[in-house]
């Protein structure tokens, strides 16, 4: 027996020894709603399931007083009220999921939204989301007494990397320095050592109509930003106020300095058809998909130091028309996107770039 054989034998027998020390699997500690089932006939789009919230965009005609959504859960977890319980969703309803090991529980707020997409945004409402010691702003709209969570940002991903800091030092926050009342403040920030470790050296402040999928934010950051919500009329103009200061040093996705490059803010809106193959556009195709009907974008926003009015037309792509039936059937989406660094999705930009936005309006036909 040569030394190498002896070595392999020892290694194998040790592995066996260790393997025999493996204990029985602990019960699941997670308490997730993995899937939410409601009749397809009432849906405008697939239910949006996030970590502690489910938003169901329902058709206007839906009777929400007697609905019995069903849920798929983490194996072994339980939910109360039970899956399939008939409840009145005139107001959002809370469900509590308890993990298999009974040590962890999570409350989900389930909302049926029957509203038409609001088209005026004044950025007056934000609440603090707290995870552990960290808190960040989540911006929402307020309509007829209910909160509408139509806005999403990359704040949840930033919070997992950043050191402790106040909520107004997150990329996306609300500010008292609005055009009128409060306003939206987006800033490009460094993600620090941990961010560099995962090749995401900066985070641009962003806010968009749609959802942010934190789960894939580190692996597929472009796909994590799911842009757009159903709209029932054709947009013609995007209007509002903004001001912008570019950060001093521009860096690329690798974190290297790009000399003499100026950061540019981004304000745009995309009106697109939601097809079964491509129901939602994301960071990878929001400006290039063949589903796009029209785009409104400030090409050269410059660096206005005071709030400056903008009114940009939606430019219809050649050969594209809008089908009235499809509009009625919620087959078109609108994405409105703000970012403090135009190439922020690729982690290029200048730390310190700051964009303020307020009093935004989408004009429709």
């Amino acid at each position: 027996m040569n030394l190498k054989k002896l070595f392999t034998l020892t290694a194998l027998s040790s592995l066996f020894l260790f393997q025999s020390c493996i204990q029985d699997e602990a019960l699941n500690a997670e308490a997730d709603i993995l899937n939410c089932l409601v009749p397809d006939s009432i849906l405008k789009a697939d239910p949006q399931i996030s970590n502690d919230r489910i938003i169901i965009l329902a058709k206007k005609s839906t009777n929400v007083t007697k609905l019995a959504p069903e849920f798929d859960l983490t194996p072994g977890a339980t939910i109360s009220p039970a899956s399939g319980t008939v409840r009145n969703f005139t107001t959002p309803q809370v469900y509590t999921v308890v993990s298999e090991d009974k040590n962890w529980s999570k409350e989900y707020l389930v909302t049926f939204n029957r509203f038409e997409l609001p088209l005026e945004y004044n950025f007056e409402h934000a609440k603090l989301v707290t995870v552990g010691k960290k808190s960040y702003y989540e911006i929402y709209e307020y309509l007829d007494g209910s909160e509408l969570n139509i806005w999403a940002s990359g704040n949840p991903a930033f919070s997992t990397l950043a050191a402790d800091r106040p909520a107004n030092e997150y990329p996306t926050s609300i500010t008292d320095d609005g055009k009128e009342g409060k306003g939206l403040k987006l800033q490009t920030l460094s993600t620090g050592d941990l961010g560099a470790m995962v090749n995401m050296p900066i985070a641009a402040g962003n806010l968009f109509l749609g959802t942010f999928n934190s789960m894939i934010a580190m692996q597929k950051p472009l796909e994590a930003t799911q842009f757009g919500l159903p709209i029932e009329s054709q947009p013609t103009y995007l209007e509002g106020y903004y001001k912008f200061t570019a950060g001093k040093v521009f860096t690329n996705g690798a974190g290297d300095v790009v000399p003499n490059k100026k950061d540019i803010a981004d304000i745009y809106a995309v009106f697109y058809e939601s097809t079964p193959a491509e129901p939602t556009l994301d960071g990878a195709n929001i400006l290039t998909s063949s589903n796009i009907i029209s785009i409104a974008r400030i090409e050269n926003p410059g660096e206005p130091s005071d709030y400056t009015f903008f009114s940009i037309p939606f430019k219809v792509k050649p050969g594209k028309t809008v089908d009235a039936n499809k509009l009625k059937n919620n087959q078109y989406n609108l994405a409105v996107v703000f970012s403090s660094s135009r190439d922020g999705a690729y982690f290029s930009g200048a730390v310190g770039s700051t964009l303020y936005v307020d009093q935004v309006k989408v004009i429709t036909k």
Binding site: A11, G132, A163, D164, L194, M197, Q219
Partner: protein, 258 residues
Amino acid sequence: MKTKLYITTILMLVFTVLSATIQAQEDRNKGVIISALNGLHYSIKAGFNVGGTSPLPLPAEIRELKGYNPTVAISIEGNVTKLFNPKWGMTVGLRLENKGMKTDANVKNYRMEMLADDGGEMKGYWTGNVETKVRNTYLSIPILANYQISKRWEIKAGPYFSYLIDGEFSGSAYDGYIRDEVPTGEKIEVSHAYYNFSSELQKFQYGAQVGTSWKAFSHLSVYADLTWGINSVFDKDFTAVTFGIYPIYANLGFAYIF
């Protein structure tokens, strides 16, 4: 006649050289023999370490060990044994050794914490794979009680004390997800995140050692020792790994007895 003289001269020369060699050997052995008469015996040992720097018992969070490599971890030791009577003695040694391994494990809901120098932190529960590489070099002093079972068999047991000369504890978490802060927190998929806890390794390490040796020849024996670390390899205030991690190694090799 001439030839006879020649042969005699050669024989005498050979004898002189031979006797000189024997003389030198006797001088050297004299020390050993005098020592032996005083109950002191010297030996040198050379071997390799096979084992793990691992939580103990393996926590339920570890679901599968997909790979294990003991790496080439060598030890050399010089020691002296004082015999109090034919059966009992005491051994004190000085050992330079590597304790290392590479593992690839699958874990579920493994509590971890990562703290960057700039204050950035990532805390939560990891489900996925963890690769670990340990390579620590220690200067160790074993102090062992010694018992002669038979002419050839001997057993030893006692404490050892180690000083870390150089250490590495690094690896990566890959193909899995972390739940932010708590198992019900935001789920974030991660393809690869590297870690290096080398600077958090404890300088002093102590533990228990038990072993046996078998005298194959009058000067050569084979031995097997087990060293079991009692304090964790990490500092007490180190929180990234929530289990105590202990070095548990078998040391196998040969000893030359003077």
